[in-house]
Symmetry: C2
Subunit: 190 residues, 2 copies
DNA sequence: TCTGCGATGTATCGAGTTGATACATCCGGC
DNA sequence: GCCGGATGTATCAACTCGATACATCGCAGA
């Protein structure tokens, strides 16, 4: 069970929904989605594909060489009906698992296929998560401020500003989402 | 051999150089150094400590309960002379391994114990690394700009701005370093 | 008082992941 | 023609994570 981390499965489902792909290209696109950090290896991708095949979410076609020429065979994966259904389920999921570090990036990448209310929930959840983090760092920082050397302080400060910037970005996105849905931005917390 | 990823070893050496610590506290500090992402578990820390013990870099003291009261025993680790030497070697290392994603944060955290010329080298190496990354992302972005939906584009754009911000931060640090060494900032590239 | 409950503390294990490696074909430049 | 780098599928030892086990401490509330 478990089909590995789940994020990878979602990324594969989303990418194969756009078009069928073979392993090599699939990995490149998954890693483009996930970013330079968090990139995955074949040792993750292939077992995941194997599990998804077993679960009937995807199907594999041996790409036949047309006209019999010596074309190398590539294995092309595409979504099954069951896989499409699974993707829809995943995209409808708006719980905490959608906004943690591990999966937020992938969920956001597929926002175009996600309902507006779920989008908003995920963005707000992500913001809360980051604000908690910010809170924790600031309190730890104010407790140890004097004991840290210049560089450690600089590093903490920079990390803090990164979180702030992320929160501002989310605020803009949330405002835009609310605007396009017709709900007034000026309603609850700052 | 291999003593695992190397970054962890450096973090342990650096932290134990400040003061002896037991495992639980050591892990908390290592994870504060590494940040919420990249945090490590006991399954990494304990084997690392075992290896370092075997290599003679650290020593373990069973913390004796004073006055015989029923105090629980904690295992306190401290640097050996060999460990201090090893730390100095590591801090003198200014090669590419010092500025990749994995280890830059830790190297920077110990800048106060690092020579000024090595500091500068690491900061400039890190900047180059990020500029390469930026280059790759922009070219990929300009090739696929029209085919991306609003959200994917937003994500890429945000990633790009994160890199830019990081580079600006490094520029400031480099300027400060040059200033404090007495070398004119206005000498080579922009 | 005593009873849980969360933090502190050491330690291991199954399951999952990485980076290296193997092997083979394709294609552009010299 | 031939070399090097990209394309392509696949595996493995070494390493890491999250869960779990076990035990003590301090302390808030019944």
């Amino acid at each position: 069970m478990s089909r590995r981390s789940g994020v990878l499965e979602l990324a594969v489902l989303g990418l194969l929904h756009e078009s069928p792909l073979h392993g090599y290209e699939l990995r490149k696109r998954v890693n483009a989605l996930l970013g330079p950090l968090r990139a995955i290896s074949y040792g993750s991708l292939y077992p995941c594909l194997k599990d998804m095949l077993g679960a009937g979410l995807i199907a594999a076609d041996e790409e036949a060489s047309e006209a019999g020429a010596g074309r190398r065979s590539r294995i092309v994966y595409k979504l099954t009906a069951e896989g499409k259904e699974r993707l829809q389920e995943q995209l409808a999921e708006g719980g905490p698992s959608a906004w943690d570090d591990e999966s937020f990036g992938v969920r956001f990448a597929f926002f175009a296929q996600t309902d507006a209310d779920v989008r908003l929930k995920i963005l707000e959840g992500r913001r809360s998560r980051l604000e908690e983090r910010r809170e924790k760092v600031t309190s730890a920082l104010s407790r140890t401020r004097e004991k840290l050397d210049r560089y450690t302080l600089e590093l903490q400060q920079h990390g803090l500003e990164s979180v702030d910037r992320e929160v501002r970005w989310l605020n803009e996105l949330i405002a835009t989402e609310r605007g396009s849905v017709g709900v007034r931005p000026r309603s609850t917390q700052s």
